[in-house]
Amino acid sequence: MTAVSDMVQGAGVVRKRTRLQRLKDNRKLWRGIAAVVIALVFWEVGSRWDQWFGFTLPFIGLIPPPTDVAVAWMSVLPQPGYWESWYLSFKRVLAGFLVAQLVGIPLGLALAVNRYFREFFFPVFEILRPIPPLAWVPASLIFWPTNEMSIAFVTFLGAFFTIVINVLGGARTIDISLLRAAQSMGATQWDMFWKIVLPGTLPSIFTGAAVGMGITWEVVLAAEMISGGGTQGGGGLGFFIWNSYMGGSLPHIVVGMISIGIAGYVSSSAIRWLGDWAMPWRRLF
């Protein structure tokens, strides 16, 4: 008996690896890094084709090479204005996104569980839903006293409809057997809502959040470009790009674009992480 357990323990020791070894063997990570490096090399060569070979490649030849972008980035990194752009955009995205969740999830659930509520509100909702968030910009600039509030409102709309539709759809597709099983075991309406409908809708809530987060970034950036850099409602990464465009600095435009890419990646990673944490039964495989 002891011999067997010793062997098992021995095997466990052999298989134990240091953090560095694990990092070295993380193929997914290395492939990702290789992909980014290769893309950068292509970009660099493509943009410098004119300099090196004498003629300009279409499209890519007009884009500043990554080395120029890196130089431009280094120049803005120490500037507080650049970081303020990040802060302003993130603040707007989070505000619009959170309010949309706070209003959208309960509304979606209410539409799902109450037939009368659904029959009464859903038609109005469905007429408003196809209107693109940016089509709301002129109206909200008129309705809301400040530019900042207009941006917040339009951002909210961007995520709101997606969230409601996802929550409604998710809650409506919960297997009726689950509700019936709970009912047989003595669940009240209240129990069924909290213990079946809500956990059953969680996957759809997170799908809605992921999609809604993407739309929020789109809307915030567009709204920032439209509203310009006035005293109120100015700034943000969208304005950073717009400003670089007005100033004619191509590398800075690309810096702004990549910054948004990183910001979006951080946001969706955060949602994925939250989703994994909230739904342990979904990350089994």
Binding site: D175, S177, L178, R180, A181, A182, Q183, S184, M185, G186, A187, D191, K195, I196, P199, G200, L202, M279, P280, W281, L284
Partner: protein
Amino acid sequence: MSEINGASGRASGAIVMDGVRKGYGEDWSWQQVIESVSLDLPPGQFTAVVGPSGCGKTTLVNLLAGFERADEGSIAVDGRIVSGTSRDRMVVFQESALMPWLTTYQNVAFGPKLRGDMRGAALDREIDRLLNKVGLAEFKDKFPLQLSGGMQRRAELARAMINSPSIMIMDEPFRGLDAMTRELMQEFLLRLFEETGRTHFFVTSEIEEAIFLADRLVVLSNRPVTVRTVIDIELPRPREFHLLSTPEAYDYKREALEILHEEAMKSFGGGGSVQNELVEAIARRG
């Protein structure tokens, strides 16, 4: 011998269905699903209900469980009219109805925790006992998606049993399992039944399964449903799987098949897929 009825010494779970009718739709689209079903099922027995697939067996289950109400007629359990759901009538569903977000343990604990009638160490002990019984003690912290089909059904059996119902209602519970697992589950259920003597109302479209398990076999007609016949299966208990190859079992099977065949042929001209399925099934099984 009987763990649920042993205390009182009297079995519970007598089912009396009296002229039950049920249909769906508006006036212009009315579909009569259950024409008339009257049954008198004594307590402590295993009743298997067979009928052509799609005939309305699940509707009958929904009525008995109290998920739906009959249009006419009544269902009584131990003399009390069924007017809604009750923990006395637990259903094991066709597809797994375990909560995907709860572990095996949490799923089994769902009912008692909801009602608050069992808690703490007593609840833990009871769940451990049941999970041991269904062979899932090592899987108590796994989520349903991590269990095989057969394990999921056994977890569901445990979840139903912890509520100590007087009737276990099972709606084609082994459908979709592979043949081997299905056989094992049938034997497992048989052992549970023979151990507890709890009333079972077991719906299936497999005649052999029905004969192997049941004390009585209720053969339903095609839609709209009536009771074609009730056959008492007088095969000795405890049963073993080779029982199905005995001449007695074969006779029961032929008797039931003849009636089902007749039911299928009745509407065969219509060419409905339900009938085709049945005829195919009969041809395959001889």
